[in-house]
Symmetry: C2
Subunit: 153 residues, 2 copies
């Protein structure tokens, strides 16, 4: 009896494993910051991005954060209301606004960053530097391949 007849072995099926792992990791990490800072995942990504690339607009944030414009709009609204983030309407195009962390946002980021780093470090604690490099390469290749397979229905 082959796989097609018996069904496939779920616990070894790559998409299942990736979903399960990413879910655990996200919930874990969220447990570290969402309670303490009241941040959602999209909000955290936006803050992290603006930390290294201040002044991005909502549209520019979408690709590097892998977020759609609805999520961004909502996240930005909450972050603005909680005074983590400031919007500056662009002179050249009044539809969009450059986004900047406020001092409070900066402070929050510098508190969360080490927590996030520490969590990542713990995940990779028993990986050698060579293995980390290897993993990095694997993830890049899988990402590129998944991207390439997008259209092929």
């Amino acid at each position: 009896m082959n796989d097609a007849q018996r069904g496939l072995h779920l616990p070894r099926f790559l998409p299942y494993r990736l979903t399960k792992l990413s879910g655990m990791v996200s919930r874990n990490l969220a447990g570290h910051y969402s309670a303490a800072f009241d941040l959602t995942v999209p909000e955290w990504r936006i803050v992290a991005l603006l930390g290294s690339r201040p002044g991005l607009t909502a549209r520019e944030i979408a690709p590097p954060a892998s977020l759609d414009k609805v999520s961004i709009s909502r996240a930005v609204e909450r972050l603005t209301k909680s005074d983590r983030l400031e919007k500056r309407i662009l002179e050249g195009d009044r539809r969009s606004a450059a986004l900047y962390l406020t001092d409070s946002g900066q402070r929050m980021l510098s508190e969360i960053t080490p927590i996030a780093q520490r969590y990542e470090d713990q995940l990779l604690k028993n990986f050698t530097p060579e293995e980390i490099e290897q993993l990095d390469d694997f993830l890049n290749r899988l990402d590129a391949k998944a991207e390439a397979l997008k259209g092929s229905l």
Copy 2:
């Protein structure tokens, strides 16, 4: 200026990369079966599991499918209504039921399995067997570590 002050580099942050990858892969794969068979992810997992382990109860499905009982209840209801799955109340305990694929469910599984396999194969097309083994090991270790870190808030 260190990472904590500048923020961390999102595109290289492991949790972000895992979420992004798993999201792409899931959407991709769902595109291959959800349209054709009207299956959600929980439904697909349950069908796949029952293919190799017929007669499981809802409770027994939860851990190996990484699903909560609410998702299972809803998925089972839909699968039963669409005649993919049959519930047999347990003699010994009338609260729960053993679940079995119907002939129609079996047929569906044997149609989807090769599609899922093919997608996984394509993802891993340019991985050597050694690399696949390596990746397998990495995922196991990350999974175990993430599991272990669950409590440590």
